[in-house]
Symmetry: C2
Subunit: 193 residues, 2 copies
């Protein structure tokens, strides 16, 4: 039986809720029902575990979207997948206590450069992905040529991040619903040919 995987599964939401720095060893032993011996037998230290827990949360929260995007045939369906995915984002990440990317980037910016760097890179990957989709849409003439991809990628990502954050501070997933509608409308009215 893979205890390392079991520990990660139990510990990942704790890190996301109590903070990747703030979660204490006793929080982790309490969540797993195991002792420090088991934890340190499978992970080299708390930071190592935090990083792997972050990756675990990303695999559940964000990577599925990346996979989904890569399976779409063209830019418009990819964009639709992005907004549809986030319409279910609240429920998807509710158990882990919110979006891990937002949590880590706010949590670790001035306290843990290594983790912050990972969050920053992920956000950049997300942004680059959006830019790529927009450029692909221009290329295939699904989208107009006369807008700046970077600009609109930033606007779309801002809306996604802001709506996710607000959905959790208000426990109200309608923030995501209206924001995704707004992005769909933006695409329809300003980006499509």
């Amino acid at each position: 039986m893979d205890t390392a995987a079991y520990i990660l599964e139990k510990v990942a939401p704790i890190f996301n809720k109590r903070g990747y720095i703030g979660a204490s060893l006793s929080d982790l032993t309490a969540a797993t029902g195991m002792t420090k011996g088991a934890i340190y037998g499978n992970f080299s230290n708390k930071e190592d575990l935090a990083i792997k827990a972050f990756n675990y949360n990303l695999r559940k929260a964000i990577y599925p979207l990346f996979d989904l995007i890569s399976k779409q045939p063209d830019a418009l369906t990819k964009l639709k997948v992005v907004t549809d995915y986030h319409r279910g984002h609240y429920e998807r990440v509710a158990d882990m206590g919110g979006c891990p990317m937002l949590r880590v980037s706010s949590d670790t910016q001035h306290t843990n450069p290594l983790l912050f760097d990972k969050a920053q890179r992920l956000s950049q990957t997300f942004l680059n992905g959006l830019i790529e989709i927009l450029n692909e849409g221009k290329h295939s003439d699904q989208l107009r040529q006369d807008f700046d991809s970077m600009t609109y990628a930033k606007v779309i990502l801002s809306m996604i991040e802001g709506a996710t954050s607000l959905a959790f501070t208000h426990h109200d997933e309608s923030f995501l619903a209206v924001a995704m509608d707004s992005i769909d409308m933006l695409i329809e009215e300003k980006l499509k040919t």
Copy 2:
């Protein structure tokens, strides 16, 4: 001399950077150059100091906007003040390590109900303010009647929060610039009569 005010001034950015939970007493004594005796002579405990530091940060970061809004004569100038204010938001809150509202809401959601409640209320106040402005605009016929104020307030606030968050995770204030342009455009094309 008002040492309580001095302590708050020095300590407020530390709380915002290292976390309202994560900042330790030794972080605080280091930042102020004073000892625990001075701190506990002026504040009852760390949480009390954290709350007052949060208020201090809000007075610098957000309340000036509320004041500015209240001085505007009509809905359109109020909306313009909102976007213009946030164009300078990065520089304004850079020294304190980011937007205190975002920090606290992510930081304290699962760790400090009292502080989280304060952040939640503030966010709600912000949202209500936007709704009120939109309704005022409808009333004075500056804005159309056929849109839902709550919906657009949520969209606008999402964009603001998301852009602020991203500006700090990428150290790139252009996120705020393009998001505010986008909000201005949204108002111009979809809300104005």
